[in-house]
């Protein structure tokens, strides 16, 4: 088991290498330049200033040298400094990471508590009114982008009831209640969009599992229907659902970036948006690198959870 985890971790290295390369290069290809932006803020700048700024930021060196310096630093936890504030990128990210992590975790919790029970219900009562309602709802959730829903939630309650979701961020450990009150709406929206596919998957796999011979065996033992479903069907049905959740991790993070913007949650998403608008390369690359690592680790966790769910893969 330990050997397996170590092997999996080593296998992440080439993936991360390529991901970092792509991130680094694509940053420099997008139009706009940090130095232009800096100069624009300062009317009296001259051509000489430009070279001076580039040199001071290390942007005058060839791209591959810059990359090697950056990745070398990244390996020891140094992601460089923000071009604007001169704060270490690692510090910036570490301040924001727990917030996005909290949002993601809450969203995942919402998604699972919505999707799995409804998916099971839909499978058990296939083709009934309840099943149709659940499936239509999930289609709707698939079709409606969460930024649009987020905007609706911001606008309509304030028009109708003069109420709008709280937008003031309070750190969790300062005041958990107010923190959750703020995070809950974006977490629900993000969770619902994730729940759509998860619900459909749960329904499909449960329908498949409920047809299996071992379910008939369980019924032949005299087990009640809830016992058959919970003890015999669910764990088998969840195996593909867990894979799906792993695959949706990047979607979850992408959604978080957008919803953080709408609901003013100062997480990685907001950090990224600020950084992009300022062309703050080290921050952008750092955020992407950390997100990449996050996605890879989520998928590693998914793979490891198979061992717990499915004894057949445990002894490989």
């Amino acid at each position: 088991m330990h050997a397996y985890v170590i092997r999996r971790l080593l296998a992440l290295i080439p993936t991360l290498f390529f991901a970092s390369l792509i991130v680094f290069v694509s940053m420099r290809v997008i139009p706009g330049d940090v130095v232009d932006l800096m100069l624009a803020q300062n009317d009296i700048a001259t051509g000489q200033d430009r070279e001076r700024i580039e040199a001071s930021l290390g942007l005058d060196k060839p791209l591959h040298i810059q990359y090697v310096q950056w990745i070398g630093g990244a390996l020891v936890g140094d992601l460089g400094h923000s071009l604007w504030q001169n704060t270490p990128v690692t510090e910036l990210i570490l301040a924001r990471l727990p917030i996005t992590f909290e949002l993601g975790l809450l969203a995942l919790f919402v998604a699972l508590t919505v999707a799995i029970p409804i998916g099971i219900y839909s499978a058990l009562y296939q083709d009934t009114a309840g099943d149709y309602i659940a499936r239509s709802f999930s289609l709707l959730m698939l079709a409606v982008p969460s930024f649009w829903l987020g905007t609706l939630v911001m606008v309509f309650p304030s028009v109708w009831w003069r109420w709008s979701p709280p937008l003031e961020f309070v750190p969790f450990f300062e005041d958990p209640v107010r923190n959750l009150a703020h995070m809950l709406v974006p977490a629900i929206l993000l969770g619902l969009s994730l729940s759509a596919v998860t619900m459909r998957m749960t329904r499909t796999t449960m329908l498949e599992v409920l047809r299996q011979d071992y379910i008939r065996t369980a019924r032949a033992k005299g087990l009640s229907e809830p016992m058959v479903v919970l003890r015999h069907a669910l764990r088998n049905g969840l195996i593909p659902v867990v894979t799906l959740i792993g695959l949706q991790a990047p979607l979850l993070i992408g959604g978080a970036v957008i919803l953080e913007q709408i609901f003013v949650v100062p997480g990685m998403g907001l950090l990224l948006l600020e950084a992009v608008s300022q062309r703050d390369y080290p921050v952008i690359s750092g955020v992407f690198l950390i997100v990449g690592v996050g996605v890879l680790f989520i998928n590693l966790a998914v793979d490891l959870s198979y061992g717990w769910l499915d004894p057949r893969v445990r002894r490989r």
Binding site: T217, G222, S224
Partner: protein, 322 residues
């Protein structure tokens, strides 16, 4: 009260299908006495499994029991409420299925699966039920039974899994065990061991056994009585000896002729029953065996022949032939 442990009376079962309703079981009447082994034989699709599954009402959503009664201990299993039938399943009547590969849950330990009915019906704690499960696995001759309680089905061979299924079926000492082709999926060498074990253990428990099989050789060795099914009907039923001594339905004769006899001279071609198995959605008028029957007469196509006695406890559904 009939005095039988189980009696099926006039059972009819229909399935919904794309080609319209399929009557898989038609007016079947059967009975099993305490401690007796009844074999049900017939070609694929003749309704053996559906009859067996109907006893515990496990035919699934696509099927409907249209008619009949299934009396067990004087109670009609078909009119019991859900809790009532559940208290019978796995406790008084248990089932062993054909596919040992897929009939065990891949994500639960074997010990837990064997212990489950004990915990459910006997109200024992998991620890006590596991203790019983270990003993049961020993009785079905699984080597190192106690150590293997925590293993999963994929760690067992087909034969061993079927032993686990048997242990599970015996867990609550049922009065009746229904084994639906318990050895069809297994190696020939393993088949005999499993059937022997099953017979032995049911004898010890004095349980009755319904043994469903394709194999008339199996019937001869293990059954007390036999019911032959064709196209969803029982066409002949008799004590095993009587059936071998005097098979009376042309279909039974055909089946008998298709087992290679030990006394057949070398090179004799094995007779098989000519023609195709019937299409249940599109049965002919009258006796369903007519298209394949070497003795068919005009009367055979007029109406389905009723089951009538041809000897002591020996019935057949045929208008007769020379």
């Amino acid at each position: 009260m009939s005095g039988h442990l189980l009696s099926i009376e006039d059972l009819s079962v229909t399935f919904r299908s794309e080609r319209g309703p399929v009557r898989a079981v038609h007016s079947v009447s059967l009975h099993v006495d305490e401690g007796e082994t009844l074999a049900i034989v017939g070609e694929s699709g003749s309704g053996k499994s559906v009859t067996a599954l109907s006893i515990l009402r496990l035919i699934g959503d696509a099927g409907r029991i249209d008619r009949g009664r299934i009396l067990f201990d004087g109670r009609d299993l078909l009119t019991l409420d859900k809790a009532g039938i559940r208290s019978i399943r796995g406790d008084r009547i248990s089932m062993i299925f054909q596919e040992p590969m897929s009939s065990l849950n891949p994500v639960l330990t074997v010990g837990k699966q064997v212990a489950e009915p004990i915990r459910l019906h006997r109200g024992k704690s998991w620890a006590q039920a596991m203790e019983d499960a270990a003993e049961l696995l020993e009785r079905v001759a699984i080597p190192d039974a106690r150590e293997r309680l925590g293993d999963y089905p994929h760690q067992f061979s087909g034969g061993m899994r079927q032993r686990v299924m048997i242990a599970m079926a015996l867990a609550c000492q049922p009065r009746l065990i229904i084994a639906d082709e318990p050895t069809t999926a297994l190696d020939v060498t393993v088949q005999a061991q499993i059937l022997h074990l099953l017979k032995e253990l049911t004898r010890e428990l004095r349980s009755a056994l319904i043994l469903i099989t394709h194999d008339l050789g199996v019937v001869a060795r293990y059954a007390d009585r036999v019911a032959v099914m064709y196209a969803g009907r029982v066409v002949e039923t008799a004590p095993a000896r009587a059936l071998y001594a005097r098979p009376s339905h042309p279909y039974t004769l055909g089946l008998m002729a298709s087992i290679p006899g030990l006394d057949a001279p070398a090179g004799t071609r094995l007779p098989t029953i000519r023609g195709q198995p019937p299409d249940l959605a599109n049965l002919p008028e009258g006796c369903p065996f007519v298209p394949r029957c070497p003795h068919a007469r005009a009367i055979c196509s007029s109406a389905v022949p009723p089951l009538e006695p041809v000897g002591p406890d020996h019935l057949r559904a045929c208008y007769g032939f020379e």
